[in-house]
């Protein structure tokens, strides 16, 4: 009975739009992956300090986007060549916002962009309007690709 009530409460919470604390990696990959935020918290983290144009700065901690995508079988390194280079990732937020990254800009041998899937800001969990997960693109001059409330990463291959 208790389990039943807990399940009902969870379903109700999700139906009211509460953030599912997980990241879905899907698309044209062999085995789509769902990572819970606590699983992401266990992965090796990096820290980047990001200045805002108003002069304030924030320090984000997170897992390199490349490492999360590798975990789901997205091709990098020696596998990223030929047709695979015509592939990109759609990063989508809870509110429907979407941006795109090519695999080439993420790979160490090409763009080597150190984009993070961040779960902390200034040592604390992200605020609700930011998280529980967000992208941080420290080398982008504008902040528009640093997707807040990140929910899914989808691989699209233009050539197969």
């Amino acid at each position: 009975m208790t389990n039943f009530l807990l399940r009902c409460a969870l379903l109700a919470a999700l139906s009211f739009g509460m953030s599912a604390a997980e990241l879905i990696i899907k698309g044209d990959i062999a085995s789509p992956l769902v990572l819970k935020t606590d699983e992401i918290a266990q992965m090796p983290h990096e820290t980047v300090s990001v200045p805002d144009k108003d002069g304030s700065t924030a320090s984000y901690e997170g897992v390199p986007l490349r490492e999360i995508l590798k975990k789901a079988g997205v091709p990098f390194g020696k596998d990223l060549r030929g047709k695979a280079l015509a592939s990109y990732i759609i990063a989508k937020a809870k509110d429907g916002y979407e941006v795109v990254f090519s695999l080439g800009e993420l790979d160490a041998a090409f763009g080597n962009e150190s984009i993070l899937v961040a779960d902390k800001v200034d040592g604390k969990p992200l605020f609700e309007y930011q998280g529980p997960l967000r992208l941080v693109c420290p080398n982008d001059k504008a902040g528009a690709r640093s997707v807040r409330m990140l929910e899914t990463l989808e691989l699209v291959r233009l050539q197969k």
Binding site: K53, D54, S56, T57, F127, E128, Y129
Partner: protein, 326 residues
């Protein structure tokens, strides 16, 4: 160590929370407390107008977050200003100062408009106005000017009046709202759950309020000592089917600075949200960001709760910003 101590003292004098970056200060008017104190006296001095009844504080009342509560400001001769008086809170961080003039970027320069402008007349001063004679002999001002500008043989100048008032205005920092406690001190009880949901909506893609009112000062035209210079942004808000672009002012203390918009034409926050939800009036210059959105009664309530959480009661009553002549 000495430099660090001096820096910390200056930040404290500017009433800055550690979370705010250091503001940009013009090289020819460095901050000092004596100048700011003189500026406070000048800011509240009603003799500094053609009718002897109006001061800067007439249109910038502390209890209204340094606005005047009117749709449009009224000058010393009774002339109506075409624009609403803007809030002075966190003015030190504004990259541009007027509603739609990209040239006015320094307080010392902007101040000449209300002092000497004729279209419309605001304070109605002239270079030979009696006030500039008064300050030379007034027993209150004499020591204040001498302390503020100790190396000058004749400190009683119009340039020094503007420098002192600018120094005072840069001290008016609003950083003690419930949202600041929630955001910077991580006090989860500082704002309501409704306000937290309003914050999510504010920063969401469909509402996109943050695109013009982002950053720590909730205004895109924000800069500090660490900012790279940028061209200011102005937007047509779709209020009317006509041209005209205006800056997005800070939303700090917005709940008490009604009426709203550049001409004070919207009386309440509810009316502002309704305006943006409907997408305003179409015209070729309307900003594409004014595209409309679905606004439920609950969402409206939550957004307003969030905006109310930006009210800093302390800045409204802080004696450091109050009238010294009382």
């Amino acid at each position: 160590m000495l430099i660090r101590t001096i820096t910390l003292c200056l930040l404290a004098q500017l009433c800055l929370a550690s979370q705010f970056p250091k503001p940009r200060v013009p090289a020819d008017n460095p901050f000092n407390p004596a100048k700011a104190e003189l500026g406070r006296y000048l800011f509240y001095d009603a003799r500094m107008s053609v009718n002897g009844e109006q001061s800067c504080a007439t249109c910038h009342r502390q209890e209204l977050a340094f606005t005047d509560g009117r749709p449009r400001a009224i000058g010393a001769t009774g002339e109506s200003h075409p624009r609403s008086a803007m809030s002075l809170v966190n003015i030190a961080y504004n990259s541009v100062l007027a509603w739609n003039n990209p040239q006015l970027r320094e307080l010392e320069q902007q101040m000449l408009v209300p002092m000497f402008g004729e279209h419309p007349i605001e304070l109605g001063l002239r270079q030979d106005s009696k006030f500039f004679i008064i300050i030379r002999s007034d027993t209150t001002y004499k020591p204040l000017f001498e302390k503020a500008f100790p190396s000058e043989a004749d400190p009683f100048t119009i340039a020094n009046v503007t420098k002192a008032i600018a120094c005072f205005e840069r001290t008016i920092i609003s950083d003690r709202s419930p949202w600041d406690r929630y955001h910077y001190n991580r006090d989860d009880t500082a704002i309501s759950e409704s306000a937290k949901h309003g914050e999510v909506l504010f920063f969401s893609q469909p509402f996109s309020c943050f695109r013009c009112h982002g950053g720590f000062n909730f205004s895109e035209n924000t800069m500090s000592a660490a900012s790279a210079p940028e061209e200011p942004e102005f937007h047509n808000t779709g209020l009317y089917g006509e041209q005209g672009k205006f800056k997005a002012p800070t939303l700090r203390n917005i709940a008490i600075t009604a009426p709203y918009m550049h001409d004070g034409s919207l009386p309440t926050l509810e009316a502002v949200l309704d305006h943006y939800a409907t997408g305003g009036h179409n015209n070729p210059d309307k900003d594409p960001l004014i595209h409309g959105f679905k606004l439920t009664p609950d969402d409206k309530k939550d957004l307003i709760e969030f905006l109310k959480a930006l009210t800093d009661e302390a800045v409204l009553h802080d004696p450091r910003f109050s009238n010294p002549w009382h």
